[in-house]
Structures are given as structure tokens and as C-alpha cells.
Symmetry: C5
Subunit: 96 residues, 5 copies
């Protein structure tokens, strides 16, 4: 999974019918220090995220292994909200 930060939302009314009702989020990738890496993805929200939250994004066929996304043309899904992580025993991020 990729670490990412939810930076915005996207609306698309004309789409494949099976995508109806799914919430689309703009996510920027971050590294293990929490810095943006320049990468980004539009991901379906499967867990109820809010703006600015750090999340995990699963891609490819694994993005269809949630209740919200199965059998849909979805290749990226937010499947977890990060509480905290540490590197070498040093806490790098903690959700407020």
C-alpha cells in the first residue's frame, strides 16, 4: 500500500454506472517522513476519510477487494486511515 494524504475531493456525474455513489478523493503520496513525493492518485473512499488525513491506498486488483469497490472499474481505494507510524522507534506521525 502507499502512504498518502487526502488533499481534496472530485466530482464526476458522467461515469460507468457501477461507480455511482462512490466518493472520489484526491490523494498525494507521502514518504516515511510524511513528505509529499510528487505522486498522486484519485482513490475511492472505502472508510470515511476527512480532509488532511493520512491514509493507506491499495491499487490494482486489490483495490476491488472492499465492499464498496468489488467488480467496479476502480484501481485505487483508501482502505485504512493511519493513526500513527514509527521509523526506527521514532514516531513520525500521530493523528490528532
Amino acid at each position: 500500500m502507499n502512504l498518502g494524504k487526502v488533499v481534496g475531493t472530485l466530482v464526476a456525474t458522467r461515469k460507468e454506472a457501477t461507480m455511482d455513489g462512490l466518493k472520489l478523493m484526491l490523494v498525494r503520496h507521502v514518504d516515511t517522513e510524511g513528505r509529499e513525493t510528487g505522486g498522486q492518485v484519485v482513490a475511492v473512499d472505502a472508510v470515511g476519510v476527512g480532509p488532511g488525513e493520512l491514509v493507506l491506498v491499495a491499487t490494482g486488483s486489490s483495490a476491488r477487494q472492499t465492499v464498496a469497490t468489488q467488480n467496479r472499474p476502480c484501481d485505487a481505494v483508501i482502505m485504512a486511515i493511519v493513526d500513527t507510524w514509527e521509523v526506527g522507534g521514532v514516531e513520525k506521525y500521530r493523528k490528532d
Copy 2:
């Protein structure tokens, strides 16, 4: 999914038979500011796009999860036309 801009069309008469009748579009990737990133893809149009529109492209096996593309050798599909998106509450794009 990747954000992209539809910049052109492509014609290929000699192809795997299951690809007959599908419309092939040239799409350039854009970032969350709407700027082209240098990446590009040829994607099947599953939603009826027009030139210059901003779209979402699903890739990999997820590209086969539309009515138009199932069981076909298609690894990229336009499955949504973007109306608008915002980053940090600031609107970055709105379809005319």
C-alpha cells in the same frame, strides 16, 4: 485512478477481434493542479468523452470492469468525466 486530459483519437483497424467497435483516446496525465505531468496512455472510452475533457482513467485489470471492456485485452479505460475538483477547499477545475 489517474486524472487525465483527452487530447486526441487513435485508429487501428488491424487488432484483436474483441477490440472491434471500441473508441481509442489519447490521454495525457495531469496533476491535482491540472498541469500535464508528461505521462500518457491510450485508453478505451467507456463513457462518451469529447476532446479536451478532463477524465479519470482506470488501469490494469480494473480497466476490464466496464460493460465495454470486459474480457478484452484492454488495460486502460476512461470510466468517468470530471465535473470539478477541489484541493484544500479551493476549486481547481470546473467543466464548462
Copy 3:
């Protein structure tokens, strides 16, 4: 799919048995202006290409969705020969 140019052929006699009889082509990626991008792939020919032709290459599990490649350890297939494409209404390529 990726745009590519067929630049050569490859022979491998010792291989997974299911790959027997498949023609392997060297393909260099090109952008929407027809310029080589530096990327490359070895792809199975599913459509009967010739040297120098511009083609579409499908990758991943989608590369196994042709008659030639199903259930084989093939992650890249040439599934179309390009006749022409245009960007912004300007023709960028036409097959001779």
C-alpha cells in the same frame, strides 16, 4: 495501452512450454508526438506486425486476454496496429 514502435525480434528456445509458438517483439515506447520515450518492452505479437510499425501494447493481466496469450506467463501483448492518430485535430502519424 502504450503506444510503441516495433524495433526488433527476440528468440528464446528454452522457455515455459506454454510460450511455444509465440512471436516475441522488441517494442520501444513512443509519446503522442511519436518520439521514443526511453521505455521498452518485449511483447507477444497477437496481430501479425512488421518491423517499424506503430502498435498498441496491453500489459498486466490484460495481456492474457487474447486468443494467443490466455493462461500464459505473458505480461505484454501487441493487440493492435496503429493506422493513424491525431492530437488537437492535427494528424501526428499515418501508416504508409
Copy 4:
């Protein structure tokens, strides 16, 4: 598979239900000389790794082919702990 070094752990309590109980590790990619390449991934631990260990990470649908990860929205799994490797007959790494 990618070579990687386990550098930390990540906690996410709010997530797709099927991810409950899985341990999430921060892994930095290393090259065949053991040097970090700048890439990274959050992977499920399927083998019981410890901090600092060198591991193999499988991605994509292959990340779901372990007992721990099947049918889950997981696109990266640690499926082996590296004991040693050699390049050109020269040992490059040996686990303590």
C-alpha cells in the same frame, strides 16, 4: 519481488474490516548492493519479521496469495525474510 528493509511499523484502527489483525510494516526498497533506492511501500507481514530485517515484498494480485492476505485489499506483502544473497559469486548480505 522487490528487496526491501523493514524500517518501521504503522497502526491504523479505522480500516476495511478484512484488514483487522494484519501487521503493517514500513519497508524501504534496497538494490542488489543493499543500498536504499528511495522507494518505499507499506506491506502486510505474512512471515513474522523484525525491525531492520531484509525481506522480499510481493505486490499486486500476488500479494493476496498468502494465508494472511487472501481476498483482502492488500497490494503488498512481505512473504520472505532474506538470509543471504550473492552477486557474481560475491556475498552481498548475510543475516546476523
Copy 5:
């Protein structure tokens, strides 16, 4: 598929049980001129390669389409040993 050169071997005794008995090879990617590109992968050997050989590596779900790798958490497999390739009619490589 990617062109690669077998540069070494890797041993991992602690791993997902289904990976037992598979031989793991270090492969560096090469371009159509035979030059290393900087990329690398750890791949299962499905064909019996030797050190220094030029090979084809299939990745993703296609890496599980060999007798050795099916249903295993393997995302890269050596499925062919290259005998020769040519670019523009000029032979670039021939196995000794």
C-alpha cells in the same frame, strides 16, 4: 516482459510455505542494446537459468501462470532464456 540479466541468487528460509523449493534469482534489467538500466527484480526461476544469462521476466499476475508459480505469492518469474535478439536487422545479442 522485461529483458534482464541474471546476476546472482538469493536464499530465504523463512517464507510463505508455498514458496518452498523455488529458486530465487537477482535480475538486473537491460535495454535493447543490452545495457543495464538501473532497474532490478528478484524473480523465481521457472526454466533453469545460469549466472550471467539474459532472460525474460514476466511480472504481476502473469508471473503466476507457470507450473512452478501458480497460486503462489510470486510477482516476477523468469519464463524464458534469450538466445538472440536483433534491432533493425542488427544482431544485438547471441548466447554463447
